[in-house]
């Protein structure tokens, strides 16, 4: 019997696929499992890297849902500051699969998150998206009214999607101890206050991340049988970790878990495709040029390269040149840098 490696294509070998590849040549990293077409209704969600993907898809002529649209007379900067035009609804960054599942369950009326309104001075904030109303709202009742409106829009958007694009961002989160309610930011960072008796740090493991996403898929498919999933892992390292480990070690753990979950989802479910933006951006073949000088934020060139790979794999011609632009994604976790000594 010959070796099972004999006859494998060049991309299967590091030497031919990476070592001998020209610098910045993205290579053939992505072979789509199913086509993504411009008439698909696409919903995007995930960590702040997903903002790039959603925007680039929209600019490339894809039908990306905007369930809470603002008219063009409002400039992007103001819209983005308030969470508009970032994702398919105004949910802000969804860093963990637990948060995604919780959002959909809440939109379907299956649960009510604990501690829904946070306060800062005399203003009130939605604890599930505290960064989206800079300055907060006048009353707690206003927060709940806006949340109810938002949830209805989320349900419509998710239930009518043909393709759900989700970027896995983090494993670390803060939860409400008694109920397990997960928050996108630590209480006290943007609003609210941190009480160690009420809240706890949580670093989700692979099983928990996987279970949350498979439960989400199962529940969404009950309402929306046609939906398929395109999943990615954010290449953006953690801004900060509360795990007690070095932030690089914590980042490696987090990305390894998320990447493993994506591999499992892709292997087990024909309705799931994996887009290797993580691999493209972090490849040693790129010598780090797809990161900004802070070695964390993905550069415009990196985003453009990822979208080029996406278009190429789906044999689509971009309708608008992906500019790479100077868009600054809204990342709640960036606020944590303020705590660095």
């Amino acid at each position: 019997m010959p070796s099972p490696y004999e006859g494998l294509p060049p991309f299967a070998f590091w030497k031919s696929a990476v070592q001998d590849r020209a610098a910045l040549d993205p290579g053939a990293l992505y072979t789509p499992r199913f086509p993504v077409t411009r008439n698909m209704r696409i919903v995007t969600a995930g960590s702040c890297f997903a903002q790039h993907i959603g925007r680039e898809l929209r600019q490339s002529g894809f039908r990306v849902t905007d369930a809470e649209p603002l008219p063009a007379v409002i400039p992007d900067a103001l819209a983005h500051d308030h969470g508009y035009r970032l994702y398919s609804a105004r949910y802000g960054n969804i860093y963990t699969t637990a948060q995604l599942l919780q959002l959909y369950d809440e939109a379907c009326g299956r649960l009510s998150p604990a501690d829904p309104v946070w306060q800062k001075n005399t203003r009130f904030y939605d604890a599930q998206r505290p960064g989206l109303d800079p300055g907060g709202l006048a009353t707690a009742a206003d927060v709940l009214e806006h949340r109810a409106h938002h949830l209805a829009r989320v349900k419509d958007a998710f239930d009518s999607a043909d393709l759900f694009v989700f970027t896995f961002g983090l494993t670390e989160a803060w939860i409400h101890k008694a109920t397990g309610t997960v928050f996108p930011t630590a209480p006290g960072t943007i609003a609210g206050s941190f009480d160690p008796d009420l809240y706890a740090f949580k670093n989700y493991d692979m099983v928990e991340v996987l279970n949350a996403f498979t439960t989400f898929m199962k529940r969404l498919r009950k309402a929306n049988r046609k939906v398929r999933f395109l999943i990615t892992v954010s290449p953006v390292p953690l801004t900060a970790t509360a795990s007690g480990q070095h932030v690089e070690v914590a980042t490696a753990y987090s990305k390894a878990v998320l990447r493993a979950v994506c591999g499992k989802l892709h292997a087990d479910d024909d309705g799931v495709d994996y887009f290797p933006s993580y691999e493209l951006i972090t490849s040693t073949n790129n010598r780090g040029v797809y990161f900004e000088p802070n070695k964390r934020s993905v550069s415009a060139a990196g985003i453009a390269q990822a979208m080029k790979m996406f278009h190429g794999a789906h044999t689509l011609t971009p309708r608008v040149t992906t500019t790479g632009h100077d868009h600054d994604p809204r990342c709640d976790d960036a606020m944590l840098e303020g705590f660095a000594r």
Binding site: L70, V73, L137
Partner: protein, 257 residues
């Protein structure tokens, strides 16, 4: 005797006709205007002039401007009051915003987007700032009055032209629109005042409940023509009665300033 200089695009016509009919005492007025496509090529020029820019204007535009005004540019020297007419839309951007958005405590129509009161205020501020004239008009020694382009006439509701979609939406769901326009006008007045500009809102008596201009104020020849209900048509230009209402507001503002 106060010396006024009116500057404007095609919306200047109604104001000029009304002023010349009324001949208000104590003022000496001059008018300098051009259709929008030519007006867009005009700017403040060296020598305290306003007129067609040398680089941007065509020969035809220079000829037309000279024919209409007797000169390609007008001097701003020795003026007490400058009145800029029709250079900014005021109403339309807000109509577009309100067509697609509800506002907490102000407007509830089941729109896809619900704005907080805070964001609505910021949006109005942003829309107002977008309507400021170039910096050369700001903080001048003369009093500078700003008259907006009138809102479209209510006859536009008979047109299916997509440009009137927002107004159709407001007509179908008018709740809170009037109050929203009031807040916007207050905000625009404040934004302009910070630049030493006096904003003269479109007179309330010329507007319908949803902010359109009353149909009887449309200039002759405007409105829906037979078989042309899908076209833009002219629902933008108003008659001398509209101009008279503006002049009344303007004179009141001058007395108060």
């Amino acid at each position: 005797m106060k010396r006024l200089l009116f500057l404007g695009n095609s919306h200047l016509v109604a104001v000029q006709a009304a002023w010349q009919a009324a001949q208000p005492k104590g003022y000496e007025a001059e008018f300098f205007g051009a259709p929008q496509r030519d007006w867009a090529r005009m700017a403040l020029l060296p020598g305290n002039l306003f007129g067609l820019t040398v680089d941007g204007a065509t020969k035809r535009q220079r000829e037309m401007t000279e024919k209409a005004n007797g000169k390609p540019a007008v001097s701003l020297d020795h003026r007490d009051i400058l009145v800029i007419v029709g250079s900014f839309p005021a109403a339309d951007p807000l109509a577009i915003l309100l067509a697609d958005c509800d506002v907490t405590g102000l407007r509830e129509t089941g729109a896809a987007t619900l704005l907080s009161d805070t964001l609505f205020a910021k949006a109005c501020q942003s829309l107002a700032e977008a309507q400021l004239p170039p910096s050369g008009w700001q903080n001048r020694d003369e009093t500078v009055l700003m008259l907006p382009r009138p809102a479209p006439a209510e006859t536009c509701l008979g047109s299916t032209f997509p440009g009137y979609r927002a107004w159709h939406r407001l007509a179908a769901a008018p709740g809170g629109v009037s109050a929203a326009f009031g807040r916007f006008d207050d905000g625009l007045k404040a934004v302009m005042a910070e630049c030493n500009l006096v904003y003269i809102p479109q007179p309330a008596r010329t507007r319908t409940a949803i902010g359109l201009t009353a149909g009887h104020l449309l200039a002759p020849g405007g409105g829906i023509k037979a078989g042309e209900d899908k076209k833009r048509g002219d629902h933008a230009h108003m008659n001398i009665s509209y101009g008279a209402a503006c002049i009344a507001e303007l004179l009141t503002a001058l007395q108060e300033s």
